[in-house]
Each structure stands twice: as C-alpha cells, then as structure tokens.
C-alpha cells in the first residue's frame, strides 16, 4: 500500500466527508495493533477478528471527536487511545455475551490442576504457553500489559486509556509480569541460566520472602 501523506486526523475528517479510501487507510494503519491487542485480551481461540471488525465499524459509524490541537501527533494519540478503548469495550462485550470466559477459566483451572502441563510445553508451543499465561492473568493486568508490551503505550497513555491512575498501572504491570514470569518459568530457565546462574539462586530466596 502506498503511503498516504495525510495525517490521521485528516483521514478521519475525509472519511466523514465520504472518502472511503481514507477509512480503508485508517484500517490498515491500525489493524495489526488492534488485532494483537484484542488477541492478548481474548486469547487465541476467540473471535478476536470479529471484535476488531466491530471496533472499526464503530469508528466508521460514530467517529470520535478529536480536540483540535493543530498537531498531527496529538490528534493521532487521541485517535489511538480512542481505538484502544473501543477495542477493549468490544472485547468486554464479547466476553459478556457468551459464557466463553467462564469456560476458558475452567480450562485454565484444569491445566493448573494437572500442574506441570506447562513444563512439558515444547519449544514451538511457546506462543500457546504465553497466551495461556496471559489468559490466566486478571483482565486488568492483561489489558495493561498488552498495551505496554504490544501496543507500546507509555504508562501515562495506558492510564488515560484504561482510566486508572498511573500508580495503579505501574502496579498492575509489575504484578502481571511477576505472575507471567512464574507462569513461564520453565521457558525462561534455559535463557536465564545462560546469563547468570548465581542470580537464580538468589531469586528463590527473594521470592520466598514475599
């Protein structure tokens, strides 16, 4: 796709004036990011594509009102955070509408029960393991981590998107990463061992103290 010189704010305005190409362009700009976001919230099995489609539909039908600052970046930031929010809301709707969440939690609980399941995960199943690890996190941690790790949003932007305080965001990230770390310990071990073996021993004591 050739690059469109127009700013995102201009694209949005153009769409409102009926320029379908502008909307298409916006979709191209955001689809990868939003898909990744929805996926990390909903998990692999889910219809995350539908969710993203729905988010774009909302963009088409009820585009946000951007505060005019005259700066393309500022407008872009507003649109980005709007889209993340809408995507999240669509995810929530999806979670609510069917009882998938419950089922998935049961699945997760099941794997937990047969603990050691993750240890047996093979190299090429890393993705599955990571996704499962993400799914085990509470939704707020998952969302914040997804925004940080996949969306590359700053703490401040995350706070704005999720409506949480920055301190809470920092806490959620820290707690979420710690949990993930524990969850993925079997995958991390070989790597960490290569770097600093003495560190690992210390870790045990530190974590034990907590």
């Amino acid at each position: 796709m050739t690059t469109d010189p127009r700013s995102q704010g201009d694209l949005l305005s153009a769409w409102c004036d009926g320029d379908a190409a502008a909307f298409d362009r916006l979709v191209s700009l955001y689809e990868a990011r939003l898909l990744r976001h929805a996926r990390s919230i909903l998990g692999e099995c889910a219809e995350y594509e539908d969710v993203v489609q729905e988010a774009f539909l909302r963009l088409a039908k009820a585009p946000p009102t951007l505060a005019a600052t005259g700066e393309a970046e500022a407008e872009e930031a507003q649109l980005t955070s709007w889209l993340y929010k809408v995507t999240k809301n669509c995810c929530m709707d999806a979670l609510r509408s069917n009882n998938r969440r419950k089922k998935r939690e049961e699945e997760v609980a099941l794997t937990e029960a047969t603990s050691g399941g993750i240890a047996r995960v093979e190299e090429d199943d890393t993705r599955m393991a990571v996704e499962r690890g993400l799914q085990k996190l509470p939704l707020d941690q998952r969302e914040v981590l997804a925004l940080r790790l996949f969306g590359d949003r700053s703490y401040k932007e995350i706070a704005e998107i999720t409506g949480k305080k920055i301190g809470t965001v920092g806490w959620l990230i820290s707690v979420g990463l710690k949990a993930l770390q524990g969850e993925l310990a079997s995958l991390l071990q070989p790597r960490a061992a290569g770097h600093d073996t003495t560190g690992d021993a210390q870790v045990g004591t530190l974590q034990g103290g907590m």
């Binding site: 594509e49 489609q53 909302r58 039908k61 585009p63 946000p64 505060a67 507003q78 409506g163 907590m210």
Partner: protein
C-alpha cells in the same frame, strides 16, 4: 534493595518485618519495571542504576524481567491483518456517518475545531466526562430532549433536528447518566452512568480547560486554601471569632448546612483571611510558618505504618517510592507544639491516613474546630541514602532511616525528598465533635477525603512545601465558601466581592435545573412538582448499617456527618408492623396521615414492601466464602476479635450441607481455608483462630481471590456468596474504587452474591462497603458489638443469606390532579431514572427473606383535589434469585431468572388516617425515625422542626407499643438531645436571609421550568420575584457589611 536494608527501615512495632519486606519488594519491582520500560526520569534512572551496580540480585531480577518481556513480546505475532473477507465485510457495513439518517449532530461545545461528525451520544459522552451531565437532572424526561434539541439546533442551525426515534434513543442513553447524576455520590454514581454509556461509545478525551470550565460552572471543585494561623485564643479575639462564627454559619448554610468552615482565630488586626495563594506571601503568614518546625510536624509514628497508609499509590511513576506522613492536629494542639516544638507528644498527635481517618488521641477543649495537617514526604528507599541506624532511641516515623534532605537552599527546591505543609480542612464539624468529648478514652477518627490532591500543588516557603488543598466534595457547590473563613477587612471592594460571591451562590447556576440547584444548596431530595414529574423511582435498600453506625457515633458523643445518615436505613432498621406474606414473595402496603412535622398541612405517605419469611430449616444450602481483612488497622478496638466472633456465630448457624471458605487479605491475599463442609467444625475453628492482623489493605486482591474460590466451588442448588469483612479502606494494589466495583458487578453475573460486613469506626469506609454490597446484589451490615453481631448475623440470618428477589425497583406514581408536590425521604443514592423502571438491565437492590423496604413521602395535596381515583400507585418490579441457587444451570433457566415480575398497589385518599396518633405503631415509628434521620442529616426540610416534639411523641409511642429496638432509640433520643440539637443548623439573620434568597432563586428556577412546560406563568409573577430577590440581596449585603464593620472594632459588644 537488600533484605537487611529493609529490616533497618522499619522499627514500627506494629509491623512485622515480613509484611514490610513484601511491600518493599513489590515497590522495588514496580520501580524496576518502570525503569526497564523507560518510564523513569533521569534522577530515578541514576538511582536505579546505582542500585543495580550494587546488587547482583537486582541485576538478576532485571534479567529475568527482560527475558519475560521479550519472550512474551516475541511469542505473539505482530504481522497481522484483517482477513480479506473481514476487510470486505467492513467496507460493506461501514456506512459513512453523514449518510445515516436522523441525528447528525455536530460536536458540542462548538469550539472544538475539528469535528468529524459524532452522534449525539458522543456529545453526551463528552458531557458525561465532565460530570456536567448533571445538567440533565433526575427530572422527567421531556425537557432533556427539548434542551438537547435546542442546543444542537443552536450549534448548527443548518442541521436537521432529531427525529422521534433518535430522541427516544438519546433518552435511553441518557437514562443511566440521569440516574447517576441523581445520586448524590457524585463520582461513584457517575461511574455507573459511564459504564452504561461506554457500552456503545468510548469517551472522547476531555480537554483540560473544558473540564475546568465545566466544573467551575457547576461549582464542583472546591479549593480550600492552605493557611497558617496561630491558634492561640484570648479575650481580644473574642469579637473576631464571633464574626467568624457567624460567617461560618452562613458558610455552613451555603455548603449544605452541615459543614461550617473552620474558624480562624487570628491575631487582632492582622490579615484575617484570604482565599488563594496570595495568602502565603503575606509576611504575617510567613512569620507564623516560621513558628512551626519540622520536628513539630514530624511527631512520632502511630499505630499504622506510613507505608501502609497507601500514599504510595497513584503518584507519578518514579514517585511511587515516596511515602508521606500526614499528621493532623487541632488548633490547640498545634499551639502547644509551637510553644514547645520539640515536645511533640503522643497524646497530642492526630494521625491522618489516606482518604479517610484522622485518629485523634486526647483532643482537648472545643475551641473552634480547626484541624491542621502537616505532611512530609520522604523516600523509603532508593538514592544513595545510607540506611540509618534507627535504633529504638529515635522513635521517628517508620521510615526515619532514610535521612530526609531538606529541599531548601539552591536548586530551586524541586527535590521532593522532603516536603511539609500545613493545611486546614473544612470538615471542622468533625473536629468540633471530637473536641467536645475530651473525656473519651478511645481514639477517634474523622475524615479527610481526597487529601492526596494536596500533594500535587506546592510552593516553597522557608523550606516548607505548602500548597492549596484541593478538596473535591461529592456534593456540588461548595466552591465559593469552602475555603473562606474571614476577610481581609480593608477595602470596600473586597467586602463587596465577598457579598457578591455569596449572592452568586444563591442563584441558579448556568445550565442548572431546579432539582440540581436544590441538591447543590441543600443536599436533600427536593419537593418535586407532580405535574412535572409524577414518577418517583428508586432501588430497594434493605441495609441498616447507617443506623447502627450513627448509634455508635452518638453513644461516643460524636455527631455523625450528614453523609453517614441514610434515612431509609434508619427506617428499615425498625419493625414496620407489616405482616410478611404467607406465600407470595412480597406484600405491598401503603398508609398515610397528616405529616407530624409539616407546617403547611403536608401529608406523610408510607410505602412498605415486605418480603416473605423463610424458616431457618427451609433455607437453601450455603456456599460462603469469607474474605477477611487482616490489615494492621484491624488490630484497633478489637476489630479482629469482633470479626472472629462474627465468623464463629455464622459457622454456628450453618448446617453440614453448607460449605465455607476463608480468604484473608492484607498486603496480599491468601486462602486460609479452602471450600470445606461446614461439618468440619474443628478445621474451621483452627482457621478462624489463626487469623491475625498485619500489613496494608489490598481489598482488591482479597475480593479477587475470594471470588476465585467462590467460583471454583460454585455449588448449584446453593446460595453462593462472598462475604467481605473489613474496616474499610483499600490502600494498596488496585485502589480504584470504580474498578473494584466494576469487577464485583462482573462477578455477580456468574451468580455469586456479595455481602459486606463493616467493623470498627472511622477507618470504616462505609460508602465503599455499601456500594460493594449494592453492586454485588448483597447486603451491607455494620457491627460494632457482639450483641449487634448476634442480631445481624444470627437473628437475621435468613434475611442476610437467603435472597427472595433481586434487582428490586420501586416506582410510585402520583396523580398530579391530587398531589401538588412530593418529596422522598432518603434513597438519595438509590435513585433510578424513571424510564429505567422497566429496563431490566439496570441493576437494583436485593431483598432477603423477611426484609422490609420502607419509603416515606411527604406530599402537598392539590387544594382543588376531588379525591377521585388513586392518589398514588406503587409498583414493584423484581427478578427471582439466580437460577443457580435452585440448581439450574442451563441458559434457559438463567434467562427465566432474568425475567422480571411486577406487582402494584393503588392508594386512594379515602384510606388516610385523619390523625398521626391514630395510625399503626409501625407507621408512627417510621415517621419518628425518619424525622430523627432528617435532624441528623441537618436536612433543610427539618429546619425549624421541634426536636422536643420528636422526643415527646417517641416517648408516648414507647408507652403505647413496646418494641425493644424502639426503646433503645428513645434512650438515644433523650440522652443525646444536647449533642444533636447543638448541631442543628444555626438560625441567625444572615443565614436566614441567605436561605431565603436561595429558596427564591430555586423557586424561580422551578417556575421557569414550569413555564417552559405549560406556558402559563405571568410576567408579573416573575417581576415580583425579581424585585423581591433584589431586596433580599441588598439586605444580605447590608448584613454582611455590618458584620464585617463590627469585626473591625474589637471593643464593640458581640454581634450576636
């Protein structure tokens, strides 16, 4: 951060090193994350790098963190695009906004330069964001649409108007917001509204200036200046202080009648008071600041570790390791400290914690309800700070090992390492209450809401960090007077400005409906004109916590605050005398008699909803998960013992078929007892026995783990319920009240109820516990004694744990031909939008077996009423308990359980009793208790009512109809007569004039609205009101002028 370092940090005996270490490690990890993500400033980066260099453990931790991050990042594919079909579908389905029929609306406010077309609801969302949705009051629906339509037409006359369908849709979307704004719990209520709006629309970012503007126009933000005052009182000051008293009362009136501003007791002739930052620059003020030394501010550590106070959450990244001590003193205490600065003693200290409590030990005297707050911030960790010895010889704050470095000297003082400030707080009434009971043995606590905000503004004077304390009140309209106490009594201009501001406050604010205004000025439900709004809708509330809590306060000689009184919970505590139905879930009863306290022939209508009784033997099986707060504060007042007692009582009521789990939480949550059959009494007892209090309060984690356990042990055919026992305030982890509430709401959909049981006084975050139970379809109780625990948990066991209906909404329709106006007593935060009565998606209260819900309406009859047909019709809409309770798991059963039913009862005028004394005892009890609540709320409607009449009637009724609870109430009434009556709103000339003016403006607003509706208001009437207002305004100016004048001349006799 090494563990040994941690150990040195905290010598506070109230905390075991373990809990502290966990806290510290968590904080360390947060900092590390922030560092890895590049979220830290240069100074913090340098600190962390130094720490990294020094600590191999930390380096290892970082490596692991980075490895985790890259593992996760790499695992999720990033090169993704929508599939071709999805893309195609999207192209087809995405209709351009301008092609949509109906509401094409330009964004409002219009000054937003870039406006892609947004739906009206997006506009709505903008407004909601600014909390200005308040504009659309809880009033009836019609004006809303009209207004919106007009506004839009104005904004862009060329645009077509909305058609009917869109109006209806907007109505529906407005409904939750309207409901929210009708709640007096500003933010909490609002979040409910937002949730609903958010389903369809994300909230566009709100520009700061707009938000500011919106807040200002509604007078929602209140700035209280921070100032310093010598608190020494002597005879010379008597005159000034009397003026201050008077002004204070005027202020109190304006601010809702319950919160007189603290009085300043200044040096004679000096600048008495000011409003704003200028005050800090006054030389006199600076001198006074000089009198306060850091040592005096520091005082000594108290029962709770500062790090446990939760001041860590919510700051900017990087500042999270900066804790703060806050101490509060009464004026007298501060004076003492200034006299003997280094002699800050434990007895004189008032301790302040996060959003709620100041614990005051031995506050003596009653001079003037002024509270001083000193704060200093210092790092617990980080930096090159060498861990100090902090031996027992230096009983400093727990973190005293981190030597505070003063921010003075060079560098502009930007180093936040050490700050101190002193502030006054407007909730002086609490302080007054405290001060007036000097003989108390127990510590007392009172509330400083949102004081955290104070830390954001600062200014350095003499090495102190000072700043405005921004107090956001949940009620509207205290902006004007909140922070104002005295005036610089110089130029006529200042005086004029002062009067102007008072008068402006009395006027209808821009975009304010009469109901909004009433709420802003008085904080009570107004009389609604039946012609404008014949429907009154609210959610059932069976809680009684407010009465128990108030009783506890009164028995300690402390007047509860207005916010703590929920009239409906008072009334519900007492036997209504309405018999429970034998089979049907509900009986609906109505009766009416002349209003005992009405001055103009008002009537009092009682509506009672009574739930069926369920015998203990017939109740369902229970699967209870107790989530027990074991934070450090639970050590106070034997709270932990009370909780254990309550748990044992509950276990005693359980059958072998029931099951029980226990989760304890402090800094983190842990499962103490997995789901266990109630027959294992020994195992359960040992789990209960092992509960000990320590650490901070992570209620979010506690609830999360509790719900996990409850969800895992979800038992079909049983009542699945989480029971939270806590004294209050979440202060670590996710402390966002709204998000905690949201997650509870989510859990409810699985079929798990949530009950909350509050213990202890002060820390007790009554409002949060009530809201939690509300969202969790459960009941909120408050227990203060073993006796009350027995009453609530044993006698009322089935009521608390056997629901008979969910989402119970009540709507009363008044016949405008017979009823001119009506007001609902209580239910201020339970209002439901009229249109939502039949909207089953809107959440409402749960009713348990044998519960009663009583509503009292004071009403004015139409003088010309013919008494045909029903005067009022009450309707109740409810859903059955969760399907899973009956063991039904299928989606059909779930749907059936979501189907609401409705019952109705009409009440005609011929059914009334002609005299109050001739009514049922239950009716009389309800009216008298409602009146007591009105007094305690300092309700505007109770102004001028006679407390003596209340006592007299109560004693008469006590003789006529015996009732144990009522006997106790009578005792309370008589015993605390002096305390209660002394807190009733003052009745001086200025206050009366101000109130009269406000009333006039309110009336005028109401007339205007009526005018718009029915077009029958004559110009003469309006002119009359206008001129009358003018004369009152002039009178107020004169009176204030006179007050100020006399204040300048101390030798004159007192004004009052």
């Amino acid at each position: 951060m090494s563990a040994s370092n941690d150990k040195n940090q905290h010598q506070d005996t109230d905390h075991t090193p373990d809990g502290e270490r966990a806290d510290e490690a968590q904080r360390q990890h947060e900092r590390l994350c922030a560092y890895v993500f590049g979220e830290v400033d240069d100074a913090e980066r340098a600190r962390i790098e130094a720490e990294l260099a020094a600590s191999p453990e930390l380096r290892a931790e970082r490596e692991r963190l980075e490895a985790t991050i890259s593992l996760v990042r790499d695992a999720i594919p990033s090169e993704e695009a929508l599939s071709a079909t999805a893309r195609e579908e999207l192209r087809g389905a995405a209709v351009r906004p301008s092609e949509r029929e109906g509401a094409v609306v330009h964004p409002w406010p219009v000054q937003l330069a870039r406006h892609p077309v947004a739906r009206a609801a997006a506009v709505l969302a903008v407004l909601t964001g600014a909390a200005t949705l308040a504009y659309w009051s809880e009033h009836n629906a019609a004006p809303t649409a009209v207004y919106l339509g007009e506004e839009l037409a104005q904004a862009n006359p060329a645009e077509e108007r909305m058609d009917g369908a869109d109006e209806e849709r907007i109505q529906n979307e407005l409904a939750p917001a309207k409901q929210a704004t009708a709640k007096r719990d500003g933010e909490r209520g609002l979040s409910g509204g937002l949730d609903a709006v958010r389903v369809d629309f994300a909230r566009p970012p709100l520009e700061a200036p707009e938000a500011e503007e919106a807040r200002r126009s509604l007078g929602q933000t209140e700035a209280t200046e921070l100032f310093f005052s010598d608190a020494g009182v002597d005879a010379d000051h008597e005159e000034l202080s009397s003026v201050n008293e008077s002004l204070k009362e005027a202020d109190a009136l304006l601010s809702g009648g319950n919160m007189p501003a603290p009085s300043t007791l200044p040096e004679s002739g000096e600048v008495v008071f000011d409003y704003g930052a200028a005050a800090f620059k006054q030389p006199t003020v600076q001198d006074q600041i000089g009198g306060v030394t850091l040592e005096a501010l520091g005082a000594d550590p108290s029962t709770e570790s500062l790090s446990a106070l939760g001041y860590l959450a919510g700051g900017e990244a990087g500042a999270a390791d900066t804790p703060v001590d806050l101490y509060g003193w009464t004026a007298e205490e501060l004076a003492k400290k200034r006299g003997r600065e280094s002699k800050a003693t434990r007895e004189n200290k008032v301790m302040l914690a996060r959003t709620a409590p100041v614990t005051g030990g031995g506050a003596q005297g009653d001079q003037g309800g002024e509270v001083f707050v000193g704060a200093r911030l210092h790092r617990l960790s980080g930096g090159p700070s060498t861990p100090g010895p902090a031996g027992p010889s230096t009983p400093g704050p727990p973190s005293s090992s981190a030597t505070p470095t003063r921010g003075g000297g060079g560098g502009g003082g930007t180093d936040p390492a050490f700050r101190a400030f002193t502030a006054t707080e407007t909730r002086s009434e609490d302080a007054l209450s405290l001060g007036s009971s000097a003989r108390r043995k127990d510590k007392n606590t009172f509330s400083f809401e949102n004081l955290t905000a104070a830390l954001e503004l600062d200014e350095e004077i003499d090495g102190f960090f000072v700043g405005k304390v921004e107090l956001r009140d949940e009620r509207f309209g205290r902006e004007l007077v909140g922070g104002r106490r005295a005036v610089e009594l110089v130029g006529p201009e200042e005086r004029r400005a002062y009067s102007d501001e008072i008068i402006r406050f009395c006027r209808v604010q821009p975009d304010e409906t009469p109901s909004m205004m009433f709420f802003r000025c008085w904080g009570d439900n107004p009389f609604e004109l039946a012609q404008l709004d014949p429907l009154s809708t609210f959610s059932a509330d069976v809680d009684t916590a407010s009465y128990t809590l108030a009783r506890n306060y009164l028995s300690r000689g402390v007047m509860p605050t207005k916010e703590q009184i929920r009239t409906e919970e008072f009334v519900n505590y007492f036997d209504s005398g309405v018999a429970a139905p034998p089979a049907a879930p509900f009986a609906l009863h109505m009766d009416m008699a002349p209003s005992l306290f009405g001055k103009n022939g008002e009537w009092m209508l009682r509506v009672v909803l009574r739930g069926k009784e369920v015998d203990k033997a017939d109740r369902q099986n229970l699967a209870l998960t107790f989530v027990v707060d074991t934070s450090g504060s639970m050590k106070q007042e034997n709270r932990m013992e009370l909780v254990k007692h309550a748990l044992r009582l509950l276990v005693g009521e359980m059958f072998p078929a029931d099951s029980i789990a226990i989760v304890a939480f402090s800094t983190e949550a842990r499962v103490v007892l997995p789901m266990t059959s109630a027959s294992n009494k020994g195992v359960i007892e040992s789990a209960i026995y092992g509960l000990t209090a320590d650490g901070s309060t992570n209620a979010d984690a506690g609830l999360r783990v509790g719900y996990e356990i409850a969800g895992a042990g979800l038992t079909p055919g049983a009542n699945n319920r989480v029971v939270l026992l806590s004294d209050g305030v979440a202060n670590v982890g996710n402390t966002d009240e709204t998000s905690i509430l949201a997650s509870v709401e989510h859990q409810r959909s699985k079929g798990i109820y949530l009950n909350t049981i509050g213990v202890g006084m002060g820390n007790h975050n009554d409002a949060l516990l009530e809201q939690l139970a509300d969202k969790g379809d459960g009941i909120c109780n408050y227990i203060d004694t073993p006796d009350e625990a027995y009453k609530v948990l044993v006698e009322n066991f089935t009521g608390a744990f056997q629901p008979i209906a969910r989402d119970v909404k009540i709507q009363v329709e008044f016949d405008p031909a017979q009823v001119q106006s009506y007001r609902l007593l209580g239910y201020e935060n339970r209002t439901v939008a009229d249109v939502d009565f039949r909207n089953d998606a809107v959440d409402a209260g749960e009713v348990g077996a044998g519960h009663q819900v009583t509503a009292l309406y004071e009403l004015v009859r139409m003088p010309t009423a013919t008494n045909d047909g029903p005067l009022a019709t009450a309707r109740v809409r409810y859903k059955p308990p969760f399907a899973i309770d009956r063991g039904e798991m299928g989606s059909e059963a779930q749907e059936a359980a979501e189907k609401a039913q409705e019952i109705e009862r009409a009440f005609a005028f011929r059914e009334v009793a002609t005299a109050f004394q001739g009514t049922e005892p239950g009716y009389q009890r309800a009216v008298l208790i409602g009146q007591l609540a009105e007094f305690l709320r300092r309700s505007v409607h109770a102004r001028g009512d006679s407390y003596a009449t209340l006592v007299q009637e109560a004693l008469r009724l006590q003789r006529e109809a015996t009732d144990e609870d009522f006997d106790e109430l009578c005792q309370l009434l008589v015993q605390h007569q002096a305390l209660i009556t002394s807190h009733l709103p003052a009745d001086d000339e200025i206050a009366r004039a101000i109130e009269e003016l406000t009333r006039h403006h309110y009336l005028r607003g109401q007339l205007d609205q009526l005018h718009r509706e029915v077009d029958e208001l004559s110009e003469e009437v309006l002119e009359e009101i206008r001129s009358e207002n003018e004369s009152i305004e002039n009178r107020i100016r004169e009176l204030i002028e006179r007050q100020l004048e006399s204040a300048l001349q101390p030798e004159k006799p007192r004004v009052r």
